[in-house]
Symmetry: C2
Subunit: 256 residues, 2 copies
């Protein structure tokens, strides 16, 4: 069996998330149905990780096995012809036979968009969290630096997922105002070797507490050290979150 | 009776256009219903011009008369609390009593967005026309300059609207690749003292014929001179079109 790696963009608003669920539209479900129509095979598509209902992706990665002889670029075009308008295969590549999208991933980067203008931006409401506070992005950035490095991120993990531990390494975190040419846009990006359930949204909800002046930047360090989800801010809503990319070692690509 | 001028942004995808139509959701209808709830008055809202189903606005202008004593900024906040998420009042101002949004307008500017990447941009599909051709934007710009100045634009007017003449003055037209940080984004902007029905969409459909190499830039001049709609390109789809702003003389504002 061959192994194909897909890089996928989607607007998550119409979906109950990545993972197949009975009676619900999901990204994984749409991909598997499209592959069934193309190959006649019942194929399981495995993502690098689940994204929740309403969360978007610019570069989610998924893999599947097939006995089809179709070239990867033909797979890409056939999938884009079959998939709904809000899911697109950005690229497709031949992977080594034992490629596994979860096990092999080295790091990921997420973006979260906030709109803090006094009047809602009607074009951002699907892609940003509208906070009316007028946030202090410098204070948010000062709070965010406490999260850099290797830590137990239990305070930023929603219960429910079963992961063996909650130690992760955040290699980059940034808070920038003015992306997309809009002075009311705040963009937060977080890069790590892995993420706990709802981790980015809990980090964003916590930084917004700092941005609106309810807490000091140093409070973020206290929240982190508490290892207690109830100490952190609320979980930010899904529509502001984008999975930007997932990094794999070169060795997972065939023919390179 | 006082006269209030509203500047309005909307995402047009969910609406049958600006103008009230029985049994349909329209921008004008939503504004009038919100004003009825706020003032108790049955108020007619007049726009600077109609926008079609699916067309967006960043700065549509509308006016209405009221006997309410409410300050204009209170009107803005009350309307934003009542309006659906895809319509926002960006500003509200007191106008002179006889302000008329159509008669008094001096000029308008529209933007049209095209995405010509090989794979559709899932986040642009509501806000751009996806042309798979790989367009030559320099040829499009060379064609566009023929439209600058005062001309009879009959070739770019969809039949149906009753306007006394089809002479308009285009004061600016631009074709630029790379807006929004995307190399596959082409942005066309047109500014004029007034626009005929579907004029921008007919201009864009014509320029795309040039961009994909089916016609030369000089053909745009021939189309213009023909004064015959059948000579021009097709009407571009609505979701790429944005009304950017409408300009009025200072004299229409009260208290300035």
């Amino acid at each position: 069996m061959r192994s194909i790696l897909l890089t996928i963009a989607y607007e998550g608003g119409a979906y109950a998330g990545w993972q197949v669920q009975p009676g619900q539209r999901t990204i994984q479900g749409e991909l598997e149905q499209a592959l069934l129509r193309i190959t006649g095979e019942t194929i399981r598509v495995i993502g690098s990780g689940r994204t929740d209902a309403g969360v978007h992706a610019l570069g989610q990665v998924a893999g599947f096995r097939t006995s089809s002889p179709m070239e990867s670029d033909v797979f890409q075009r056939a999938l884009n012809a079959e998939l709904p308008d809000d899911i697109a295969v950005v690229s497709a590549a031949e992977a080594v036979a034992d490629f596994h999208p979860i096990r092999d991933s080295e790091s990921k980067r997420y973006r979260y968009q906030i709109d803090d203008g006094p009047v809602r931006d009607v074009f951002a409401r699907r892609y940003a969290w509208h906070c009316r506070h007028g946030l202090d992005e410098a204070a948010m950035a000062a709070g965010a630096v406490h999260l850099l490095g290797r830590h137990d991120f239990s305070s930023f993990e929603t219960a429910g997922a079963e992961r063996p531990d909650s130690i992760r390494t955040v290699s980059d975190i940034s808070v920038i105002r003015g992306g997309n040419g809009a002075s009311s846009r705040i963009t937060i990006e977080v890069e790590a070797d892995g993420f706990l359930y709802n981790m980015v949204r809990a980090i964003v909800g916590t930084l917004v507490e700092v941005g609106r002046g309810a807490q000091s930047p140093d409070w973020v360090r206290q929240v982190l050290e508490a290892c207690d989800r109830s100490q952190a801010g609320p979980t930010a809503p899904p529509q502001g979150l984008f999975l930007l990319w997932v990094k794999y070692p070169d060795a997972i690509y065939a023919n390179r």
